[in-house]
Amino acid sequence: MKIQTARQWMVTHEWMIKPMAQTEWIVGKGVLVWLAEVFSALGTGLYIASLFFFKSAPLTAFWGLVFGWIMIAVFKLPLHLAFLGKPWRFWRAFPPFSNAWRTSWFSRGIVFTMIFLVLAAVQMVLQGLIAYNAVSEGGAHWGGVYASNWVFMIIAGIFCALTGIYCGFAMSYCKSVPFWNTGLLPIVFLIMGIADGLALLMGVGLVTGEGVIPPAESATRIILIINALLILVYLVNANYQSTVAELSVKELIVGKLAWVFWLGIVIFGIVIPFVVSVASYFTGEEASAGLLVFAIVCHTIGAFSLKYGVLKVGIYRPLLPKGTAY
């Protein structure tokens, strides 16, 4: 069949016959979704990363938990609510007013977030008691506080991970957008969030001076490698998945959004933090404070770029395509 660019008559809704990018969640007010998802990743990542230092660096862990919680409660939730057309109806997503959590990842996400915020608040108090020596080790209440902290840490940690991963599932559910329609997306988001969280935790460690940086840098090295591989696999997989997903990948790598991918995600998000962490590994010394701050800023730019890129190249599968190609 001869290929020609078709002339169209009365193109009232060309997104139905051309692969067109989604705009609802990234253009105009949709920018709020992007920002909310970035803060979701940063907040949950910081919280999860902090949990691993609750014993070795209690003060850093405490402030990490606090900042992670704030990012979710003060930034992510209000931004999501601000995006809604009727924000004051947000309660309709909660059980018992709705049983949509059974099928809707959006509803599940709201439930996960609220449970996380409540449990994390309790856990932060317990961690604060430990961090500021309000209960002395070996004292009468020490064992109880410590055990409770463990319990709340595990449960809050699980809900934190669910809060961080749900938006990936919500997006991967959409068959209409083949680039998102893959099980790898939630994992990419979660792992990238944890890597960002570790970077932010190093920032907290710089202030508290508790010696968090060397172990956090070691973890960052590994997670960044995993993350780079995951992103690579995700893109290769999408490239083979369907023509529309292939278009998305091309748009991200060589298209108009190539700068977001190469500059934001690859260089700022992965390469620079990785080089800084590897340099400290070979020199055997901690990176200077200035260099660390630079790496943290780059990491955060990477977090913003990843979500922006993925949301922006979410291209709809056309309604009237060549049947088998899409």
Partner: protein, 257 residues
């Protein structure tokens, strides 16, 4: 009972009467359109092929929009119609993105403007806001004129047969390209058309089981039918070709060769 529609692509004359009828029936805001008409022309070395595709909400049996709705605002009625309770919708637009047929519209302030900006509302608009209020900040779509169906059934009328109980777009269609009826009834007009003319749905691979079927004289019921199997699966729509941007031409070529 499951209400469904059959659209005969060969009969559609692209007159847009269905679009206008829906607009009048539901007092749709200026930039909101429930049923849509896609018309495109594709040419190869032999002929110019003009295709017109009336599209509207497919009222899917396994509707993704219902599954993703976080507030249960989108729900499925017993008669198969997917409806939206605007009083429950909080405008997250998840359904707009999740609908594989892209048939949902978010009513934003930009879309719900007056027909004559800067002038007072027309009598039509005033009446519309009274009879069929559209809430800014919520999502809307075609509902097979369920109010007409419900009112007609209450009077003992039969949707698809009696005009008063039939969707407005079906009533208005002059070339009778649209047929409405009960998909669960094997003797209904729609079931017969689907059976006899090899009705097919759009994107069956999604597994959403749409209630809107299409028939096409070339690939459906014509004696020279050469691709009944493809027609059933929707794969026949190869002739439409997807329209690529010039920059994507190389990619398009790869998939058409």
């Amino acid at each position: 009972m499951r209400w469904g529609m059959v659209i005969n692509l060969a009969k559609c004359t692209r007159c847009h009467a269905c679009v206008a009828a829906c607009r009048i029936e539901h007092f749709l805001p200026l930039r909101v359109t429930w049923p849509r008409l896609i018309a495109l022309e594709v040419e190869d070395e032999f002929a110019v092929d003009v295709s017109t595709w009336p599209v509207r909400c497919n009222q899917c049996k396994e509707a993704p929009c219902v599954e993703v709705c976080p507030t249960n605002a989108s729900y499925k009625r017993e008669d198969g119609i997917v409806a939206i309770d605007s009083n429950k919708c909080f405008g997250c637009r998840y359904c707009v993105i999740a609908c594989p047929y892209q048939n949902r519209t978010y009513v934003s302030r930009k879309r719900a403007v007056n027909y004559f900006p800067g002038y007072p509302l027309t009598r039509f608009e005033k009446k519309g806001r009274e009879l069929y209020p559209h809430q800014v900040g919520t999502t809307e779509k075609c509902n097979f004129c369920m109010e007409r169906i419900d009112a007609g059934l209450a009077k003992g009328l039969k949707p698809g047969i009696d005009r008063e109980a039939t969707p407005a777009c079906v009533n208005i269609c002059q070339p009778r390209a649209l047929t409405f009826g009960d998909l669960d009834d094997p003797n209904s007009n729609v079931s017969k058309l689907i059976r006899e003319r090899n009705g097919f749905v759009l994107h069956p691979e999604y597994g959403t089981e749409p209630s809107v079927y299409y028939i096409d004289y070339r690939l459906g019921g014509a004696p020279s039918n050469k691709a009944p199997r493809e027609a059933q699966t929707g794969h026949h729509i190869q002739h439409l070709s997807t329209v690529y941007e010039p920059m994507k031409e190389k990619l398009a070529k790869k998939h058409f060769d």
